[in-house]
């Protein structure tokens, strides 16, 4: 499996400030790459560099196996994108905007326009001026525009912004369909973790311009994902019991009332044993739950860890 995009040591400085630092990411052909990071982490800047809108201060981008330069125009034909937010020629109608897009892309299959609109569930709006669209509708129209030409590589910056839950669900299905049926590689950025978790094959986490981690979702799922959350009013005593009676060291004190006990497969403690030991030692148990570590926790731990260093 080849890589559709490789960046090496990508850096961008704006007015002396490093907005993106040393980002080396790899996107495999056909996968959905979730680009995750808080607001202002540099996601959009990276995406702008990939689409050649912004030129890197240092580092290289290789796309479809070609090095991206100032004059790389032909690769743009194989890409579709929404950067920052979907922009349109507001005074024109949806149809006129899409027609223009096709003309500029050198794409002349007019039926594709209709198909794309149907796909994103936008109907009977062709004659309406885009300035009268809601953000959610613009978002859908932007996605329709990006997929008309069936590009090999689709770059979508925060595509679910401004959509209602039903719309988000619809889009999720569309993304999966594009990936599975058309073999399109997708780079999707978001700050909403739960969403990424559901669709991405690989997650790249960026914070303060640095790529903290790039990991396959399957790896995250395998890793140490279950834990028991214990709520008690005496965490010190509970911790003592864990360490001395049950011989558990892989736990974490979340706050005064909450402890997390991680189990790594076979040697994990069962809830029953845990309850028994705690009750014997007279520790009050308010609640005891088996939980799965979600991407959110993983992500938060990464970011907190980052802050500890900074």
């Amino acid at each position: 499996m080849g890589y559709i995009l490789k960046t090496s040591h990508l850096t961008k400085t704006f007015g002396g400030q490093e907005v993106v630092q040393d980002v080396s990411m790899k996107i495999a052909r056909g996968e959905i790459y979730g680009f995750l990071g808080p607001n202002g982490a540099g996601k959009t800047t990276v995406m702008k560099m990939i689409t050649n809108l912004v030129k890197p201060t240092a580092g290289e981008i290789e796309i479809f196996g070609e090095k991206l330069t100032d004059k790389s125009y032909s690769v743009l034909k194989r890409m579709g994108s929404i950067i920052e937010y979907p922009v349109f020629y507001d005074r024109l109608t949806a149809r006129e905007n899409l027609d223009l897009h096709c003309e500029y892309m050198g794409f002349y299959d007019k039926k594709a326009i209709k198909d794309a609109l149907e796909l994103v569930n936008l109907q009977n709006i062709e004659k309406k001026a885009v300035k009268d669209f809601s953000l959610g509708m613009k978002q859908r129209l932007g996605i329709a525009r990006a997929i008309i030409t069936k590009p090999e590589f689709l770059i979508l910056d925060e595509p679910i912004n401004g959509l209602d839950p039903v719309g988000i669900k619809e889009l999720r299905d569309i993304f999966k369909m594009l990936s599975q049926q058309f073999g399109i590689t997708l780079l999707i950025s978001s700050h909403i973790l739960g969403e990424m978790e559901q669709i991405a094959d690989t997650i790249g986490v960026i914070r303060a311009g640095r790529l903290l981690e790039e990991v396959a979702m399957s790896t995250i799922r395998e890793k140490n994902t279950e834990y028991i959350e214990l709520t008690t009013n005496d965490y010190k005593k509970a911790a003592f019991v864990l360490e001395n009676k049950l011989n558990i060291r892989n736990y974490k004190v979340i706050d005064d009332k909450c402890l997390r006990i991680y189990s790594d497969g076979s040697d994990g403690v069962s809830q029953r044993d845990l309850t028994k030991a705690l009750v014997q030692e007279n520790v009050d148990i308010e609640s005891l739950n088996l939980k799965r570590l979600s991407l959110e926790d993983h992500f938060l731990s990464l970011i907190e860890g980052g802050e500890g260093v900074a």
Binding site: L53, V54, K55, L76, I83, E84, V87, F88, R91, Y104
Partner: protein, 230 residues
Amino acid sequence: MLKLMRLEMKKYKLGGLLKGVIICNLAIMAMLSMIYFTDKSDSAETFASYHSLFETIGAFVRITFIIFASTIITRIIIDEYKNKTINLMFVYPISRKRIMAAKLTIVFLFTLITVLLSNVLLDGIVMLADRVYGFVPETLTTDMLTAQAFSVLLSSVAAAGISLIPLYFGMRKHSVPFTIVSAVLIASLISQTTNGFNLSQIIAIPVALCLIGILIAYITIRNVDTKDVA
């Protein structure tokens, strides 16, 4: 290139500008008639010779369409940057240079054609009117007409180049007011008449300004490939 220009025209519905051009011509005509028919003291000077009459018409037309062109610059260039639609344009598999060149060619040709045609039209109308009213105490010779034709041609080309100068000011901060104000200043500077003298009479000045305009366009096109799009 022609296709890009056609798409730009379609995108901004530039066909609709024709109405504006016609209105401008009507307004200039109205101004001229006001001078012609009402203010006899001033018109004495303006209508003393065909030469000064044509000068006056030329100045009106030049000012009007240089400013008009600056509104087109704001519409098809500055606003694209402001509304970020330029991001869209620059992710198309088309050289940025060609996109920019297409836009600037539209501005150049627009000024060239409107200044040329408006001069021809208004000069023609005034000549016809003068046959009836006979204000100008001169007979029109073929020599005068040839000289005027040449001068109209030259000043149209000059105006077209000059109309690109506001681009420089507008692009600095992608500011619409900057673009238009600079156009107004440049247009009035070169067309202001003091004691029967104005800057565009020294042929070197409009020619030099025209070249500056073209140079600005050239630099803008040359830089567009390497510049970040915010």
